[in-house]
């Protein structure tokens, strides 16, 4: 299988097909992430479009010492941060509501989606760090680079985020067990 870095090299040589392959590989993953970070689905779609455009335009600046996904997510995060609704979402005490695109896109399940819980509990950066680490399987160093933070910040944030979510998970589990025992 051709690696991302090989595709980037081919795209830099002028191969449009190579960049299309990159888009094919990442569009769904990236949209899934952006849906959790944007104020609406339209914003997420705008962000993904801008991300691919920026990646294509500045492909020469990609440093092959890092994984391509790290660079792509870094661009995506920057695009999300530039969106007008982004800051408004940050200042809200309860950012999750009925209009949240994440809530709309979720499959029906018997438990609350953990990413919805994470959105409520964690800061934007901590949320992104958790996503990149546990969904995108990035290393701690890559997470730190994608978020433009130090490695120690990434380590501490991931540890705290994990602890908070686990605590919430166990609390929810005990509530469910209690309600089941009461019938």
């Amino acid at each position: 299988m051709v690696t991302d870095e090989q595709l980037v090299a081919a795209a830099l040589q002028g191969s449009a097909a190579a960049f299309n392959e990159i888009v094919e590989r990442y569009q769904e993953r990236l949209l899934r992430f952006l849906l959790t970070r944007s104020a609406s689905r339209a914003d997420a779609e705008d962000a993904i479009q801008d991300t691919f455009i920026s990646a294509y335009r500045y492909l020469y600046s990609f440093d092959p010492r890092w994984r391509f996904s790290t660079w792509l997510y870094r661009i995506a995060l920057r695009n999300v941060a530039r969106q007008p609704g982004h800051n408004a979402l940050e200042t809200e005490v309860e950012p999750v509501d009925a209009e949240d695109p994440l809530q709309i896109c979720l499959a029906v399940s018997d438990h609350e989606n953990l990413w919805l819980t994470a959105k409520r509990l964690l800061s934007d950066d901590a949320y992104s760090a958790m996503w990149l680490r546990y969904v995108e399987d990035m290393s701690v160093r890559e997470v730190a680079r994608a978020l433009n933070k130090s490695v120690s910040w990434a380590k501490v944030t991931l540890l705290r985020g994990r602890r908070r979510l686990k605590l919430k998970m166990s609390e929810s589990a005990s509530v469910t067990a209690r309600s089941e025992s009461y019938g």
């Binding site: 960049f19 299309n20 888009v23 569009q27 769904e28 993953r29 949209l31 899934r32 849906l35 959790t36 779609e45 993904i48 479009q49 691919f52 455009i53 294509y56 335009r57 500045y58 492909l59 020469y60 600046s61 994440l102 896109c105 979720l106 499959a107 399940s109 989606n113 953990l114 990413w115 958790m130 996503w131 546990y134 969904v135 994990r162 979510l165 686990k166 998970m169």
Partner: protein, 142 residues
Amino acid sequence: MDEFENRLKRDAMDINAEISAQLAARIEASLQAVERIEPARQNHSATSNLWWASSLTGLAATAAVIALLNWNRPDPVPVLPEQTVFQVVPDAREYLQQIQGRFPLRTETADFTHGLEDELTRLQADFEKARENVNRDIDFAF
């Protein structure tokens, strides 16, 4: 990978991120419309010429500064040898031995006894007065 990490992955996959045909077309069209930025190519011959020119200018400037400093250098300050200094200022002990006996060092007892006695009498009077005051206060109190 533990249960928690599995759950995070599973829940992420539950998010419907299907790319609509409209969005795919939008992305494709925008990529076709945009131009890729090429990094600015460096002109190697121009760079090397600039390097030579700056190096030569630097060397010439250094040579000029050295020549100017040598031209305007002041006359060297004469340095006295260490022996001369010891000869001018002899050892303190030797010096004291040399001057011993040359100057008369006689002392006389100062006659300050009368003034001090007066002072002592006044102090004793003050002390006696204070003692009387304290005794009187004690009598008042008890």
